[in-house]
């Protein structure tokens, strides 16, 4: 029997596309022949905005890229600026940064797994996940006054010191999280329907994954033993004992398991960081570039100039964000504003591999594979 090919639009407004993303599918019956991705619905011109703001003014915009895990976004940009300007950071600030970034990584993976399960039709996990996430967001709120858009990390350190009672509350949350994690795994890992939806779906080999520029848990799920925290150790990661979680299979299930393992590793890192948190300053008080504004209380410990000028030059600085390699490419021309800011966002680059993954599969498999890539559209469209 002859069948016609059908062009099917999925999105831009669809619950399973996690935002405004459009799949243009060429279907042969139920089989996806070709998948074209149309994006840009959330494009806000963040890179152009970067050229018009001073170095400090741009930090809040980075929150709005990957709004599920904004803390690593803050850090990636600030790290690039610090490398460009040669700013030293006090040890305590580095510990606080790593602590909250790992906390944010756990939050990100909970949301990612929860929404994946919801796409597959199991609503329990997102309820459970958001319960733990809520407590974590309250911790963030205590720390910097915001639940999702933090603007907390700044060049030279962090904005405020830990509030009273933060560490005990975090410890309590971690204890709770460990117990909940067992629940998660009992609910999901050996579920037969979950296996049928995930195993051998959206498979991509290690070589292909590298060729497509996949990074993060999506690449580690294909068996590449890489982690920017290990390959290019930054901040205090060299002093911390943890491992990069990998799985050899390269299918959707492997990517899910990598995320669960990473939650455990992050808890491990959190424990080490809390135990060895040093006392001291949280902001470097050295002076860089332009002199402080007149009348500012330079005796205050947490002083750092609002306006400063790095040397002319360029830097590409990357970190291991929860979703993959997040890089900022900054060109400075020696003025108070960057000449060019380029954001290498993990969601954008990971999305490249989706058409390859889903070719020859069915639409429900597209949803499953797309869920395991863990994309946030603010990060894709920038």
């Amino acid at each position: 029997m002859e069948t016609d090919e059908l062009i099917l639009n999925m999105g831009p407004v669809h619950p399973s596309t996690h935002g405004v993303l459009r799949f243009r599918l060429r279907m042969d019956g139920e089989i996806i022949k070709n998948c074209e991705i149309v994006m840009g619905y959330l494009h806000r011109g963040t890179e152009k905005l970067g050229e018009m703001k001073t170095y400090l003014q741009f930090i809040p915009y980075t929150d709005r890229l990957d709004y599920i895990s904004a803390m690593p976004n803050n850090y990636a940009y600030v790290k690039a600026v610090e490398e460009l300007a040669g700013i030293e950071v006090p040890q305590r600030a580095e510990y606080i940064r790593v602590m909250i970034m790992e906390l944010n990584r756990i939050v990100n993976h909970i949301v990612s797994i929860g929404s994946l399960l919801m796409d597959l039709g199991a609503a329990t996990m997102i309820m459970w996940g958001f319960r733990e996430r809520e407590t974590a967001l309250q911790l963030f709120e205590q720390l910097c006054g915001a639940r999702m858009t933090f603007n907390y990390i700044k060049p030279g350190g962090v904005r405020e010191d830990l509030p009273e009672g933060f560490i005990p509350k975090l410890r309590e949350w971690m204890k709770d999280m460990e117990k909940r994690l067992v629940d998660y795994e009992q609910l999901i890992n050996d579920n037969e329907i979950f296996h049928m939806r995930m195993k051998d779906i959206g498979t991509i080999s290690a070589q292909e994954a590298i060729n497509y520029g996949l990074t993060g848990p999506s690449l580690r799920g294909s068996g590449v033993d890489y982690d920017m925290r290990k390959i290019e150790p930054y901040s205090i990661y060299p002093d911390i004992d943890f491992k990069a979680c990998t799985r050899p299979e390269g299918d959707s299930y492997a990517r899910y398991i990598v995320r669960i393992d990473e939650i455990k590793e992050s808890l491990q890192i959190l424990r080490q960081v809390i135990d060895s948190m040093p006392e001291g300053k949280i902001v470097s008080n050295a002076k860089y570039g332009i002199a402080p504004m007149t009348g500012s209380p330079s005796s205050v410990m947490t002083y750092f100039p609002r306006i400063f000028t790095p040397h002319a030059g360029e830097v590409y600085s990357r970190i291991e964000a929860p979703k993959g390699e997040l890089g900022f490419y900054i060109v400075s021309d020696g003025t108070t504003k960057p000449y060019r800011v380029k954001i290498r966002s993990p969601s954008f680059c990971n999305l490249t591999a989706i058409p390859k993954m889903v070719q020859g599969l069915r639409i429900p498999d597209l949803i499953a594979a797309f869920g395991t890539i863990d994309v946030v559209l603010g990060d894709v469209d920038r």
Binding site: V224, G313, G327, L351
Partner: protein, 171 residues
């Protein structure tokens, strides 16, 4: 010997100069030889194409490629310098599939053309958008409006008078 020096030894005629991008070895490549240089870089172990981006320096364009080797744990930066009137460079899509969207984005926002790219069209902005926003002489004053046509295609126009927009009091 760092990676840029290695590349210069392998391709003495294609590498214009070598230096550093902060701490990362940087090689400036003749624009017609970028495909050759990238192939050699890949064979040297730089399998991960981290980022492609273009920068408008008003008198010239620069396209920057950042590579990473997972095995050697080293970076390599390649750079080509393009004419400001006609910025064209060879596409790397034949070596890296991941270069596809990065090049489309560079074309969309910076206006650099990649010859040999299978489907070089805008990616973040709609087809029909005037100008490339990250060029330094981009016209920021003219508003552009996007509406949906009968077939679902994007229509870009500078006339927003018939759109539902919030009217500000006083003007």
């Amino acid at each position: 010997m760092n990676a840029a020096e290695e590349l210069k030894n392998a391709l003495p005629n294609s590498v214009v100069s070598i230096s550093f991008q902060l701490d990362k070895p940087l090689a400036i490549i003749k624009k017609e030889d970028i495909l050759k240089a990238a192939t050699i870089a890949r064979d040297m172990g730089f399998v991960h194409l981290s980022v492609i981006t273009g920068i408008d320096y008003c008198d010239r364009y620069e396209v920057v490629y950042n590579f990473l080797s997972y095995v050697r744990k080293q970076n390599l930066v390649l750079k080509v310098i393009l004419d400001h009137n006609n910025p064209v460079v060879d596409s790397l899509t034949s070596i890296w599939k991941g270069a596809d969207w990065l090049e489309r984005e560079t074309y969309d926002l910076v206006g650099i053309k990649f010859s040999g790219h299978p489907d070089l069209k805008r990616i973040l902005l709609p087809e029909g958008w005037a100008g490339h926003p990250l060029q330094k002489d981009y016209d920021m004053k003219t508003e552009q409006f996007v509406t949906i046509g009968d077939d679902g295609e994007d229509i870009v126009s500078t006339d927003g008078s018939n759109l539902l927009r919030r009217k500000y009091h006083g003007n």
